[in-house]
C-alpha cells in the first residue's frame, strides 16, 4: 500500500526533494559549480523551513493557549533531567580553568585574583557555551528522536487528523520549557563552576578564601549575569527550533530518525557556536566589560 507520510510541518513546507529545481540538480551534472549551487539552495531552503516553523510558532503563540501541563512536563525533562550533565560540566570547567589559571598566574604572583577571571569567564562564555553544547547533545537529540519517531510512525499525522497542530502540541511546550530552563541551567552551571573554583583555589592551592571571594565579587557584576541569561535564552531557542524542525522533517523510518537526531545535535552545536560570536559582540556593546569597577 502506498502511504507516503504527509509533509513535515504543514503541507506547504517544502523539502529539498519536493523542490523541482533541487531535484533536477541532484539528477544532472555533478560539477563543482552545480555542487556549490545545490549546497547554497539547500542552505536557503533550510533557512526557509526554519522561518516557516518560526512563523507557525508565532501564530501558535498568538492564536492558542499555552499547554501548561505539557510545558511543565518538558521543564521536568529538560531542567531536572539535565542536572547531572550541567553540574558536572559547570563544576569541572570551573575546576580545570582555575587550575590552568593558577599555573600561569603564580609566575606573576597574582594567583589570588583567580576568582575574578574564572567568574567573568564562566558568566560570559564558558557557562553559557558549554552548558548550551551539553544541553544540545542531551535535550536536542532527545527532542529530534522523539518527534522524529512520532513522525515516521504517523503519530504526527494522527495529531493533525484530530485537529491538533503539531507545532502547538509538540514544539511550543518544548520552546517554553527550554526558554525557561536554559537560563536557569546556565546559572546553575556557573554557580557550581565558582564553587569548584573555590574548592580548587582555596583548598587545593592554598589561596586565602577572603582574597578569592573579594576578587570574584569585585569583578563580577549584574551585567555579567545579564550576559549569561541572554545567551542562555538565545541558545535555548536555537536548540529547540533546530531540534524540533529536524524531528518534524524526519522521513525514511528508523534510519531517518537517526539522521535527524545527529543533525539536530550537529546543527544546534554549530549554530550555537557561530551565534555565540556575534551575540558576544552585540552584548559587549550593550554590557561593555571593564567599565564598572
Amino acid at each position: 500500500m502506498i502511504a507516503p507520510s504527509a509533509s513535515t510541518l504543514s503541507p506547504q513546507l517544502p523539502t529539498p526533494q519536493s523542490v523541482p529545481s533541487l531535484r533536477r540538480m541532484d539528477d544532472s551534472s555533478r560539477g563543482p559549480i552545480s555542487t556549490l549551487g545545490r549546497a547554497v539552495l539547500n542552505f536557503i531552503n533550510y533557512f526557509g523551513q526554519l522561518g516557516i516553523l518560526l512563523g507557525e510558532g508565532f501564530e501558535s503563540l498568538v492564536k492558542t493557549k499555552p499547554r501548561l501541563h505539557l510545558t511543565m512536563e518538558q521543564i521536568v525533562r529538560i531542567g531536572f533531567g539535565s542536572q547531572v550533565v550541567v553540574i558536572v560540566t559547570g563544576a569541572f570547567t570551573g575546576a580545570v580553568f582555575t587550575a590552568q589559571s593558577y599555573f600561569k598566574f603564580r609566575d606573576f604572583g597574582i594567583e589570588s585574583t583567580i576568582g575574578s577571571i574564572v567568574s567573568v569567564s564562566l558568566f560570559r562564555e564558558l557557562g553559557p557555551v558549554l552548558t548550551g553544547l551539553m544541553v544540545a547533545g542531551r535535550v536536542g537529540a532527545a527532542m529530534a528522536a522523539e518527534i522524529g519517531t512520532m513522525k515516521v510512525s504517523e503519530q504526527i499525522d494522527a495529531l493533525r487528523a484530530m485537529g491538533v497542530h503539531p507545532v502547538d502540541y509538540l514544539a511550543m511546550p518544548r520552546f517554553f520549557a527550554m526558554t525557561i530552563s536554559m537560563p536557569l541551567l546556565i546559572a546553575e552551571a556557573v554557580a557550581f563552576g565558582l564553587g569548584a573554583s573555590w574548592f580548587v583555589a582555596v583548598l587545593g592551592f592554598g589561596i586565602p578564601s577572603a582574597w578569592f571571594w573579594m576578587h570574584t565579587i569585585d569583578h563580577t557584576n549584574l551585567e555579567d549575569l545579564s550576559y549569561a541569561m541572554t545567551k542562555g535564552l538565545v541558545f535555548g531557542m536555537l536548540i529547540v527550533v533546530i531540534s524540533c524542525h529536524q524531528g518534524l522533517s524526519t522521513t525514511n523510518g528508523a534510519v531517518g530518525v537517526g539522521q535527524s537526531t545527529t543533525r539536530a545535535v550537529v546543527f544546534s552545536s554549530l549554530a550555537l557556536l557561530v551565534t555565540n560570536f556575534f551575540l558576544t559582540l552585540l552584548l559587549n556593546y550593550i554590557f561593555p566589560m571593564g567599565t564598572i569597577t
Binding site: 502506498i2 507516503p4 492564536k63 503519530q155 484530530m162 485537529g163 491538533v164
Partner: protein, 258 residues
C-alpha cells in the same frame, strides 16, 4: 473497463471529489479520481496494493493536498485551507490509521480520551464514561491503563478504532480496520461499522482487502486501479461483474500455478 453506472443516491454528496491527481516524485498515484460519498453510507475502497487507497483517504481528511483536482467536505473545499482552518473540519472526522498510530507516551485510556480533551470536553466523568463506552465496543475495557507498547497488533488496531469513534464523528475513515485481526474480532469490527451506521447515521469509508468484510459491510464498493476509479457500484454489481480482473480479485486468483 469503464466504471458501471453509479449506484449513488441523488442527494447532494457529503464528500465530493473531482479530478483528483497526486504524484510522489515521478510516481503517479492518483490520476483523476471522481467520487461522491453520500451521508450515512458505508463505502468500501478496494483494489490492489499500491493503487492509492490510503492516499485517497488522506486527501479526504486533508493530510495530503492534491496536485490537481478538488475535494469538497460538506460543501467546503479543502483545497488551500491551512492546518488551523482544517482543524474544525477534521474534528468531524474519525480516522483509523493503518498501523493505528497510537501515542506511545499515553496509556490506552489517555489515547482514547485524547480527541475528547482536544474537542474541549472538560468534565472528567463524561470523558471517563465515553472512553469506557468506546473501549467496551472494541472489547478492550479491561486494558485501560496499558501502554501501547504492551499491546498486540490487533489490540492496537482496536484501540485505534475506539479513538476514531469516541468523538462521535459524522464520518469515519478506516484504513484496513481488520488487517491482522482474528476472524471473530473482524466480525465484531464489521458489526461495529454497521451498528454505527444504523444507530448514529455515521458515514464510513473503509479500505479493506478482506472480501468477506466487503460484502458484509458495503453499501457501495469503489475499486481503484491504475490511479482511477475502476469500478463503482453496489456489492451485487461487483459480485456479478463480467470483468475478469474483478472476478480474479474477488476470488483471490493470481493465475499462478504451483
Amino acid at each position: 473497463m469503464p466504471a458501471p453506472p453509479s449506484a449513488e443516491p441523488a442527494a447532494s454528496p457529503f464528500i465530493q471529489i473531482r479530478g483528483l491527481h497526486k504524484s510522489f516524485d515521478s510516481q503517479k498515484v492518483l490520476q483523476g479520481i471522481d467520487l461522491d460519498i453520500s451521508r450515512g453510507e458505508t463505502l468500501v475502497l478496494v483494489g490492489p496494493s499500491g493503487e492509492g487507497k490510503s492516499v485517497l483517504l488522506k486527501h479526504i481528511i486533508g493530510l495530503l493536498h492534491p496536485d490537481a483536482g478538488s475535494i469538497q467536505f460538506d460543501g467546503t473545499s479543502l483545497c488551500g485551507l491551512s492546518e488551523r482552518q482544517l482543524a474544525p473540519l477534521r474534528r468531524r472526522i474519525g480516522y483509523l490509521f493503518q498501523n493505528a498510530a497510537l501515542f506511545d507516551s499515553l496509556t490506552v485510556a489517555q489515547n482514547v480520551a485524547f480527541p475528547l480533551i482536544e474537542a474541549g470536553i472538560k468534565n472528567p466523568a463524561e470523558i471517563k464514561s465515553r472512553v469506557q463506552e468506546a473501549l467496551e465496543v472494541v472489547e478492550l475495557d479491561a486494558h485501560t491503563e496499558k501502554m501501547p507498547i504492551n499491546l498486540s497488533g490487533g489490540m492496537r488496531k482496536r484501540v485505534g478504532i475506539a479513538r476514531a469513534i469516541v468523538g462521535r464523528p459524522e464520518i469515519i475513515l478506516y484504513d484496513e480496520p481488520t488487517a491482522g485481526l482474528d476472524p471473530i474480532v473482524t466480525d465484531v469490527i464489521d458489526h461495529l461499522i454497521k451498528r454505527l451506521q444504523k444507530r448514529y447515521h455515521v458515514t464510513s469509508v473503509v479500505i479493506t482487502h478482506d472480501i468477506a468484510s466487503v460484502f458484509k459491510i458495503a453499501d457501495r464498493i469503489v475499486m481503484l486501479k491504475n490511479g482511477i476509479v475502476y469500478f463503482n457500484g453496489n456489492p451485487d454489481q461487483l459480485r456479478h461483474s463480467p470483468d475478469t480482473f474483478i472476478q480474479d480479485f474477488i476470488a483471490g486468483r493470481s493465475g499462478m500455478t504451483s
